[in-house]
């Protein structure tokens, strides 16, 4: 049996939940999944300010607080938190390890997912990079492209583990593949053993969102988990057998719950066709698996099936399309709807001549989440209006806010403006372009380097 712990599900997650897992020796390897579609673009902004950044700063916490304990117990750590700059992240880890005297520790870096500098060459070589949602081919003109990363599979991590890595730091490796890698390393599963690979992928999918399989974000357990326990859920662990079947459980003695309900909720999270969960290593199906209770906080998963991997890898290209700001106005009784009309009309007039590209208004508490699912009340005691506006540049948005606030004594009667919304920074708007690229255009460029701490 191989026990895999999961201690990060997004950049900013509490990675120190790995500590009780490691201290109690409840697992053999810990994975940290740090990258969402938005994360890489945030990291690009960091990197533009400082070329040595571009990795998730959780790496610093992992290296300072978790690595010494894990190294002492020979528990490897695997993370894609290297983001856009795994090399600098590895350097951070090396320095931390050196400071703490972790002699002989091996740090592996996986690179080659970042296609930004290669886009022109790839397209010249015939890659259309057509948008998976619309079918349109990519063009390089238009708003600036800030990131372009292929989703890599488990192979380079397996290679790093084979070289004895104690910590593996990667860029955009697909989330569940982080968890598949130690299984392939341990059990030697063949790269065409589709059912076992699929089992490892489904296991990774269940673990990769940490709290979400132990009672976090759970409607099924709405009444069963104490509110304070949500702040200290014990993160999940899977016990995986050589045949691919596994038990999902959590760090013993910690709050939270693993039940068939939480496993079902997470199985379908971010799932499209459940017969074809496409990953770089295998196309997994979750329509054949069985769930069984295996004691308290233990659910056994078996019967996962898989089909051959695709000849392409997914690439996400992100463009900086512009910026948005928001202002939040709260209108008090009486006649809130008339006041809303006044406010919106006033803003439209104040913003005349500014190159604002879009304005949206939402009534928070009425239609901001659910649109028109329920009828609006006739004469509400309060109305919160969220006004959003976008432009190609941040200066326009600042000017728009200034002009709006200049009307402080001229606007609707009895209106409050949220101070936080007035002082906020503008938010970059990124258009994502999901596309496919041939494997052979990416895989030869993937590199694994291992360095040893002196």
């Amino acid at each position: 049996m191989l026990r895999i712990g999961s201690a990060e599900g997004f950049y900013g997650d509490d990675v120190t939940r790995a500590l009780p897992m490691i201290a109690g020796e409840h697992m053999d390897v810990v994975c940290f999944e740090a990258l969402s579609e938005l994360t890489l673009a945030i990291l690009r902004r960091d990197q533009m300010r400082d070329p040595n950044r571009g990795y998730t700063r959780d790496i610093e916490i992992i290296a300072e607080r978790i690595l010494p304990l894990a190294y002492a117990r020979k528990i490897p750590l695997i993370t894609n938190g290297g983001g856009l700059n795994p090399t600098s992240a590895a350097e951070v880890a090396r320095k931390a390890a050196e400071r703490q005297g972790l002699h002989g520790l091996k740090i592996a870096t996986v690179t080659g997912d970042d296609l930004l500098a290669r886009l022109g060459d790839l397209m010249a070589a015939g890659e259309r990079l057509a948008n998976m949602e619309t079918g349109a081919p990519l063009t390089l003109d238009g708003p600036p492209i800030v990131t372009a990363n292929a989703y890599l599979g488990a192979t380079p991590i397996v290679e790093a583990l084979a070289q004895g890595a104690d910590i593996v730091i990667t860029g955009r490796v697909a989330d569940p593949c982080l968890y598949l890698a130690p299984l392939v390393h341990r059990y030697g599963w063949a790269w065409d053993d589709w059912d076992r690979l699929a089992s490892g992928i489904v296991c990774g999918h269940l673990l990769e969102c940490t709290g979400q399989v132990v009672g976090g974000n759970s409607l099924a357990l709405l009444d069963e988990i104490a509110p304070a326990d949500l702040a200290r859920l014990g993160y999940p662990i899977a016990e995986v057998e050589a045949d691919g079947s596994f038990v999902v459980t959590k760090t013993p003695g910690t709050p939270g719950r693993v039940a068939q309900a939480t496993v079902k909720e997470q199985l379908l999270y971010e799932m499209h066709d459940p017969r074809a969960y496409i990953t770089p290593d295998v196309v997994a199906s979750i329509t054949t698996l069985r769930l069984e209770d295996d004691g308290p906080d233990r659910v056994r998963v078996s019967g996962v099936t898989g089909a051959p991997r695709t000849q392409t890898l997914k690439v996400n290209v992100a463009r900086l399309e512009g910026y948005s700001r928001e202002l939040i106005f709260t209108l008090g009784w009486p006649a809130v709807y008339r006041k809303e009309e006044q406010m919106c009309g006033m803003l439209a007039a104040a913003w005349e001549g500014l190159p604002i590209t879009r304005v949206e208004t939402q009534r928070m508490g009425q239609d901001s989440l659910f649109s028109s699912l329920a009828p609006a009340p006739d004469d509400p005691i309060e109305l919160i209006v969220r006004v959003l506006f976008t432009a190609a540049d941040q200066e326009t948005l600042k000017m728009a806010v200034r002009r709006a606030l200049a009307l402080g004594l001229s606007g609707p009667a009895g209106m409050a403006v949220s101070g936080q919304s007035v002082g906020a920074d503008s938010r970059p708007l990124l258009g994502l372009w999901p596309a496919l690229v041939a494997r052979e255009a990416v895989e030869p460029h993937v590199g694994v380097t291992v360095m040893e701490v002196a």
């Binding site: 673009a41 329509t287 901001s368 659910f370 329920a374 258009g431």
Partner: protein, 111 residues
């Protein structure tokens, strides 16, 4: 005046979770019992979900069945105002869309 019967919403029969990928959201509808699954499978079509969600979903709705775990999965295309990285929605990740689907009346004449 005729007594109005309380509307039976999907939440009575199921729970679920929403997720996002780009501009596509998905919502799982996981039955609370085998009987509930049979009823949901018979009554909650992709078309009904699309009509129920109205302007929240601009594209098509696909429905997938998972008999092994007694759940349906709805994939909502063009449902996040461009996706979390550019959406102007308060909930750009679409986390609340699970509740939006579960708010749906089970029986069509109660929509």
């Amino acid at each position: 005046m005729a007594q109005t019967k309380p509307v039976r919403r999907l939440y009575e029969l199921a729970y679920g979770r929403a997720g996002d990928k780009g501009n596509i959201a998905n919502v799982s509808v996981i039955a609370r019992s085998s009987d509930a699954y049979a009823e949901i499978k018979a009554k909650i079509s992709a078309e009904r979900v699309r009509t129920h969600l109205g302007p929240l979903v601009q594209g098509q709705v696909e429905r997938f069945e998972l008999d092994n775990i007694e759940a349906l999965n709805f994939v909502l295309h063009d449902a996040l105002d461009g996706g979390a990285t550019r959406s102007l929605r308060l909930d750009g990740l679409g986390k609340s869309l699970g509740g939006a689907v579960l708010y749906m009346p089970v029986d069509e004449d109660e929509s």
